[in-house]
C-alpha cells in the first residue's frame, strides 16, 4: 500500500491532471473551430501517468515523448501559452510553430519531442543515456512510448543496447490498450509486456496508470535505482484513452460500453475521492483549481490567437544551422 500524499503534494497532482484535461478539452473545441489542424491526439483518461511519473524526474533529466504529449509538456513546465501557440502553428509556439501538436520541443526544459514515428525515439534515448554515461553526468533519460511501439524492431534494439551498456534510461510504456485501433491481444503474441522487457535483463514493473499516487511512487523507486547506477529499467503504466485515437477516428474497433467501464476509473475524480476521504482535500479545492486553470487556459488561447505567423521568407530556416549564428 503506497502512502498517500500530503496536502500540498495532492494539490499539485490534482492541479496538473486538471490542467491537462481542460487544456485538451479546449483543444478539441479549437480543432472543431478550425484553429488547430493536422493530427490531434488527446491524452484524456491518461493524465495520471504524465502527472505522477514526471514528479519522479529532476530538472536535469531528459524527456522524450510520443505524439500524444501535451500532458507531458504541461507537467514538465512548458508554459501553457507556448504549448497552445504551437497547437495553432504560431511562431510564438514552443517549436516556433514548425512542429504542431505532435512535435512539442523545449530544450530549456529538456523536452525532446513530440516524436511521431512509433518507437523511432527509443534509439535517441539510448544515445542520450550513452552520452551522459560517457561524460560522467548523473542524469536520467526518460522515454515514453505506447504499447504499440513494442512490436517495432527499434524497441528491441534499444532495450538490448541500453541493457548491454547499462545506460541510465527509463523505458516508460503507456499501455492504453490500443495501437490506434488495434488491441494489444490482436497484435502481440505475448501480452505481458514486462516479460518481454525482463528478457533483456532489466528490472520491469507494471503499475496501475489510473492511480496517480501509485504511478509516482513506482516511478520514483525505479528512477532512483537508475540514477544510482543500476542501468536501464522498464515500467508499464496500464491506462486507457477515453477519447478517439485522433480527431479522424470513428472508434469502430471498441464498444462504447468498454469505454464507459473505464471511465468509472477516471483518474481525476477517483484521486479526488480518495483525498477527500483522507481529509486531505475538499470539493472547494477542486473548484479553486478549476477556476485557476480556466484563467490560465483563457490566457493561453488569447496568447495563441494574438500570436503571429512566421513570414514565408523564413520557410527554409533551421534546416541547417546558420553559419556564424
Amino acid at each position: 500500500m503506497t502512502a498517500l500524499p500530503g496536502r500540498g503534494h495532492a494539490l499539485h497532482l490534482l492541479t496538473q491532471m486538471v490542467r491537462i484535461r481542460r487544456f485538451e478539452e479546449r483543444c478539441a473545441e479549437l480543432y472543431s473551430a478550425g484553429k488547430i489542424r493536422g493530427f490531434l491526439h488527446l491524452y484524456i483518461g491518461e493524465e495520471a501517468v504524465a502527472t505522477g511519473a514526471l514528479r519522479a524526474l529532476g530538472p536535469d533529466d531528459a524527456l522524450l515523448c510520443t505524439y500524444r504529449e501535451h500532458g507531458h509538456a504541461l507537467v514538465r513546465g512548458v508554459p501553457m501559452n507556448k504549448v497552445m501557440a504551437e497547437m495553432f502553428g504560431k511562431q510564438e509556439g514552443c517549436s516556433r510553430g514548425r512542429g504542431g501538436s505532435m512535435h512539442l520541443f523545449d530544450a530549456e526544459h529538456r523536452l525532446y519531442g513530440g516524436n511521431a514515428i512509433v518507437a523511432g525515439h527509443l534509439p535517441l534515448a539510448v544515445g542520450m543515456g550513452l552520452g551522459d554515461q560517457m561524460a560522467g553526468r548523473q542524469r536520467v533519460t526518460a522515454c515514453f512510448f505506447g504499447e504499440g511501439a513494442i512490436a517495432e524492431g527499434e524497441f528491441h534494439e534499444s532495450m538490448n543496447l541500453a541493457a548491454l551498456w547499462k545506460l541510465p534510461v527509463l523505458f516508460a510504456c503507456e499501455n492504453n490498450g490500443y495501437a490506434m485501433g488495434t488491441a494489444l491481444a490482436r497484435s502481440e503474441s505475448q501480452t505481458a509486456l514486462t516479460v518481454k522487457a525482463a528478457s533483456y535483463g532489466m528490472p520491469a514493473v507494471s503499475v496501475d496508470g489510473m492511480d496517480v499516487v501509485a504511478v509516482e511512487t513506482e516511478t520514483r523507486a525505479i528512477v532512483d535505482a537508475i540514477r544510482a547506477g543500476g542501468g536501464p529499467a522498464f515500467i508499464e503504466y496500464k491506462t486507457y484513452r477515453f477519447r478517439a485515437h485522433s480527431m479522424f477516428d470513428a472508434e469502430l474497433y471498441r464498444d462504447k460500453a468498454e469505454v464507459d467501464e473505464h471511465r468509472k476509473r477516471d483518474p481525476i475524480p477517483s484521486f479526488l475521492r480518495r483525498m477527500i476521504a483522507a481529509n486531505t482535500l475538499t470539493e472547494e479545492d477542486l473548484a479553486h483549481i478549476e477556476a485557476k486553470v480556466a484563467e490560465e487556459l483563457s490566457e493561453a488561447v488569447a496568447f495563441a490567437e494574438a500570436g503571429t505567423w512566421e513570414p514565408i521568407e523564413e520557410l527554409t530556416r533551421d534546416v541547417y544551422t546558420e553559419v556564424g549564428a
Partner: protein, 326 residues
C-alpha cells in the same frame, strides 16, 4: 609529403579527432576487436579503449539512432555503417530524426553526428553489398553528404564533418580503401563547400565524384592523346552541391558528361543533368550525356559487375560524342 592509402587517411582522421576532442567516439559493427570491416579502425581499440571504439550489436537503426541521441547531448559520434545497403535499416533514424530534429524543434537542437558508410561495386559482393545510393541521402534537406575521392579528402573531410553542427553522411567507396595517394606534410584542412577542378580543360567537362574519379581521370588522359582537352570536376560535397563551379566549368567548355555509379533513372546524375539544363542551358553546345549505373541489382560475376558500372571506355565515348567526334 608521404604516400598513404585511403584507409590510412581515414584512420589518421579518426586518431587525430579522438586525440583532439574527448567528445569524439567511434561506434559500429566490428569497429573494435575486428578492426573495422574495411580495417579503417585497426589498432584504435588498443589506443582509445572500448568506450570510445565501441562495438555494437547488429542493430543499424538502434546504434545510428544512438549516435543521433548522443549528438543531442553534446557528444561528437562517428557512426560506421558497413555498407550503404545496410544503412537502409537505419533510414528511419537518418531521415526521420537526424535530418528533421533541428527544423521540427524550431532550431532548438542540432545533431552533430557523422555517419560513415562504404559504397559502390567492384569487389564481387553481389546485390546486397555493392550499391551506390548516394542519391537516397542527397535527396534529403537537413543532411550534408560527402564523397571523398582522394586521400587528402578522406582525412580532411572527416575532420571537417566533425566540426559541422549538422548531420553529415560520408560515402567511402570500397574500391578506394587500398588506393595510395600523396599526403602533404602537414596534412591540409579542407572545406565542405567547394567542388574541385581535378584536371583543367577547355573542350568538355567531366563531372564525377568518389569511386568514379579514377576512371574519369583516366578517360581525360586518353582524350588528351586524341587532342581533346577535358576538364574533370570532383564534386566532393554532394549536398549542398557547389553548383557555381559546375556552371563555371560548363560556361567554359560548353559540354558536360556526368559520371556516376548510381542507377541512371531518378538518380544523382539525373539531378546534376537537370540543374545544368535549367540553369546553364544556353551555355551548352551539345546535349548533356550521362555515364551511369545500368538498371540492374549488382551481379556477382566480375564481367557482369563491371558491365553494370561506368567504365573508362564509356566515359571516353560519351565525351567524344558531345564534342562531335563520336
Amino acid at each position: 609529403m608521404s604516400e598513404v592509402t585511403f584507409r590510412e587517411a581515414v584512420r589518421m582522421a579518426l586518431r587525430e579527432s579522438m586525440h583532439a576532442d574527448e567528445r569524439v567516439f567511434l561506434m559500429g559493427e566490428d569497429v573494435g576487436r575486428y578492426g573495422g570491416s574495411y580495417a579503417c579502425s585497426m589498432g584504435l581499440l588498443e589506443e582509445f579503449g572500448e568506450a570510445r571504439i565501441r562495438d555494437t550489436p547488429l542493430s543499424e537503426s538502434g546504434f545510428v539512432g544512438a549516435g543521433i541521441g548522443a549528438a543531442l547531448v553534446g557528444m561528437k559520434p562517428i557512426v560506421e555503417v558497413m555498407t550503404v545497403n545496410f544503412s537502409l535499416l537505419a533510414l528511419d533514424q537518418i531521415i526521420n530524426n537526424a535530418a528533421t530534429l533541428r527544423h521540427m524543434s524550431g532550431g532548438q537542437v542540432n545533431v552533430p553526428v557523422v555517419i560513415r558508410m562504404s559504397t559502390g561495386a567492384g569487389k564481387q559482393l553481389a546485390a546486397q553489398h555493392s550499391h551506390s545510393w548516394e542519391a537516397f541521402y542527397t535527396h534529403v534537406p537537413g543532411l550534408k553528404v560527402l564523397s571523398p575521392a582522394t586521400v587528402v579528402d578522406a582525412r580532411g573531410m572527416l575532420l571537417a564533418a566533425l566540426d559541422d553542427p549538422d548531420p553529415v553522411v560520408i560515402f567511402e567507396h570500397s574500391g578506394l580503401y587500398n588506393m595510395k595517394g600523396e599526403m602533404p606534410e602537414p596534412p591540409p584542412a579542407v572545406d565542405l563547400t567547394h567542388a574541385r577542378v581535378a584536371r583543367e580543360g577547355t573542350d568538355v567537362t567531366l563531372i564525377t565524384h568518389g569511386g568514379c574519379l579514377r576512371r574519369t581521370t583516366e578517360a581525360a588522359a586518353a582524350l588528351a592523346e586524341r587532342g581533346i582537352s577535358a576538364e574533370v570536376l570532383d564534386l566532393r560535397v554532394l549536398r549542398p552541391l557547389d553548383w557555381n563551379t559546375v556552371f563555371e566549368s560548363v560556361a567554359k567548355t560548353h559540354r558536360a558528361v556526368i559520371v556516376d555509379e548510381g542507377w541512371k533513372s531518378w538518380g544523382f546524375s539525373a539531378e546534376v543533368s537537370a540543374r545544368i539544363a535549367e540553369d546553364a542551358f544556353w551555355m551548352l553546345d551539345a546535349p548533356v550525356r550521362r555515364v551511369a549505373g545500368v538498371e540492374v541489382p549488382i551481379p556477382y560475376p566480375t564481367h557482369l559487375e563491371q558491365a553494370s558500372i561506368p567504365q573508362t571506355a564509356q566515359v571516353i565515348a560519351a565525351a567524344l560524342e558531345v564534342v562531335g567526334h563520336g
